[in-house]
């Protein structure tokens, strides 16, 4: 497949590993923002070939991981209302809330559907005029345009039985929050290439300048990630806190203006709570007030949302790069992908799930 095999080329990858070894002269800590990158790093064993002194920490870029517990509890409660069809993406359905996951709600009789695209939920609304279709819209800047497009279509077509629970999050404010947190060890970031495809890389310039950290827009395959690391280390070693785009096959400086305009038409920037981390100012998207009729949180009054997080879960620290999954006493014991305590153990993009699946060493 084009854009897959060539970025997994073993020889090219090994040459980049050698280049990385030559480039590192001092200890550095680099955070990969995106859970897709974390997954790729562990799946291909990149963490095992890094030169001594170079440490990778996993960032908060896993949409289901950072969706606040109360949002999941609200979705579960709304799904339980008569006449409601609740739709969301695959791995969102398994995330544990205080009163179980959406899949558990389905087994109790709620009508919960897995969709691959937000437009599918729109089609469900058209096909079920006597039902209320509620779409749980989560994700970063990547999924926001598609979800905005779906609700825009509902507004334009006057489709009143479609609404969204919007829990979108934005990457640059989260990066700034991580850099501002006490104990932060991050020297540079690999930014998520597909987020940059939508936003461009210019929004990162302010973060890089204010905090003095290099940021490299990076892809997801082994060659991409190793190349991003070579670039990040080169910038660190020369004391150059710039934004560099190494995902040139998809990212333009200003991103995708049509996608940005669609997001801007439907959503406004708001403060947002991140699961395990807390509230980050101006880090989320919510439906604009003029579209309140399509806002499920306003449309369905659901009381008694008192979320309770399992005490032993350290997902918040993992998501900020302050701890590794294996530091958690519950990891692999009380908490496994079959019995997840936190969302980071659920999604294939979650750091704990990636560690559980790929991170165990082969016994010698």
């Amino acid at each position: 497949m084009k854009f897959l095999a060539e970025y997994r080329d073993p020889e090219l990858a090994r040459a980049l590993v050698a280049q990385l070894q030559r480039a590192v002269t001092r200890p550095w800590t680099v955070m990969e923002i995106c859970g897709g990158q974390t997954h790729s790093i562990l799946r291909h064993g990149i963490d095992q070939v890094l030169p001594p002194g170079l440490e990778l920490v996993h960032g908060p870029g896993c949409p289901v991981c950072v969706t606040p517990l109360e949002t999941i509890d609200r979705a579960v409660a709304i799904a339980g209302l008569p006449g409601v069809i609740l739709a969301s993406f695959g791995d969102m359905l398994r995330v544990p809330g205080s009163r179980g996951s959406l899949l558990e709600a389905r087994s109790r009789g709620a009508d919960v559907r897995m969709v691959y695209s937000p437009l599918e939920a729109l089609a469900l609304a058209r096909a079920n005029p006597d039902h209320d279709v509620v779409f749980l819209a989560v994700g970063f800047e990547t999924t926001a345009p598609g979800n905005a497009m779906a609700v825009a279509a509902a507004v334009d077509q006057g489709l009143r039985n479609y609404s969204q629970i919007v829990s979108h999050v934005l990457v640059p404010p989260a990066m700034a929050a991580i850099l501002d947190s006490p104990g932060c060890r991050v020297n540079a970031f690999l930014a998520a290439g597909h987020v940059c495809t939508v936003t461009g890389w210019r929004p990162y310039e302010a973060v890089a300048a204010r905090h003095g950290v290099p940021i490299v827009a990076t892809g997801f395959e082994p060659v991409d990630i190793l190349d991003g690391l070579v670039q990040a280390v080169t910038l660190l070693e020369s004391g150059d806190a710039r934004v560099v785009n190494r995902y040139e096959r998809a990212v333009r400086p200003d991103g995708n203006p049509a996608a940005q305009a669609m997001v801007d038409r439907m959503y406004r920037v708001c403060d947002r709570k991140w699961r395990g981390i807390g509230t980050i100012p101006q880090s989320g998207l919510a439906l604009r007030p003029e579209f309140a009729a399509w806002d499920a949180e306003r449309k369905f009054a659901v009381a008694d949302i008192t979320p309770a997080e399992p005490a032993e879960c350290i997902a918040g620290l993992v998501l900020q790069g302050l701890a590794k999954p294996a530091d958690c006493p519950a990891f692999g014991r009380a908490c496994t992908p079959q019995t997840p305590l936190g969302a980071t153990m659920v999604s294939s993009e979650g750091a704990c799930a990636a560690w559980f699946r790929y991170g165990r060493k082969v016994p010698q």
């Binding site: 799946r43 969102m92 398994r94 969709v115 999604s347 294939s348 993009e349 699946r357 082969v362 010698q364």
Partner: protein, 352 residues
Amino acid sequence: MSDRADVTGFSCPLPRLDYDTVQMAHGAGGRLSQDLFEKLILPRFASPELAPREDGALLDLPPGRVAFSTDTFVVTPLFFPGGDIGKLAVCGTVNDVAMMGALPRALSVAFVLEEGWPLADFHRVLCSMEATAQQAGVRIVTGDTKVVGRGQCDGIYINTSGLGVVPEGRRLGVARIAAGDAVLVSGPVGDHGTAILTARAGLSVQTELASDCATLNGLVEALLACGADVKALRDPTRGGLAAVLNEFAAGARVGITLEDGAVPVRATVAGVCEMLGLDPLHAACEGRLVAVVSGADADHGLAALRAHALGSEAAVIGRVVPAHPGVVALRTGLGVERVLDMPLGEQLPRIC
């Protein structure tokens, strides 16, 4: 893709029936049940064992140990590129019997039909079962049909059970796997699982991908006839290649080392799986086998598989090792080994 039947130009024309769809009475044992059996089912499964219409079949089996297996088939959509639920139901059980080293002889078939489901679709499934059973050289000798109310099942569920006879002298089993053996796969993995996923309504990914669904008893005989010391056979259905290799490693208390680059995966399968966040090594096959062969016979076994139409893309993918008993290690392109685990239940597509 439509999952409605298109019987125009089909080799077995739909018989004239009083109803177009399944009625509750079709499962009630009366006139309509008889009609359904005589007009639709019996003509497709004509066999000397079924013809007397007794409560069961009487079989004359050649000497040898009898292998016996059963499976129930539930799939959405019912008709998909490369097959349908009927073909799948025959292939699945024939293959399970063949993996025991047995020559499959007879199948039982039980249908659960949904009230209101088009009989033209049922007929299409029956034709497909007839063709697949003929191809595999097995006879359908007994069966049953029940009907459930509309909404209580998804069109049709099928259970098949199969019997086969293991010729004298064949010894296949996980317990025979030992360090030094080679692991072979008969073709690219993940075609069936990925084809089903892309055929489902809602996932608007268009590919040329078809299920690999096929009966493997011919391929098994070709491999066993070549004289290679074949230790164990298994077809990587649910859970895919990763599940089978973990079963082998755990069952024989050996380690298995797999070369990531050596496992054949079609570019389309790799691409679709990458997009959805799924792993081709966890995706189901319905027409592939995994063989553990004595290390000295690896090339010989590979040549025998490749000489057969269903094994032309076979490959040696790994070795059985004395280290890390019970663990399957995957060597990545970077030369790093990591654990290849059992898949964890249902694979769910990721968000972005």
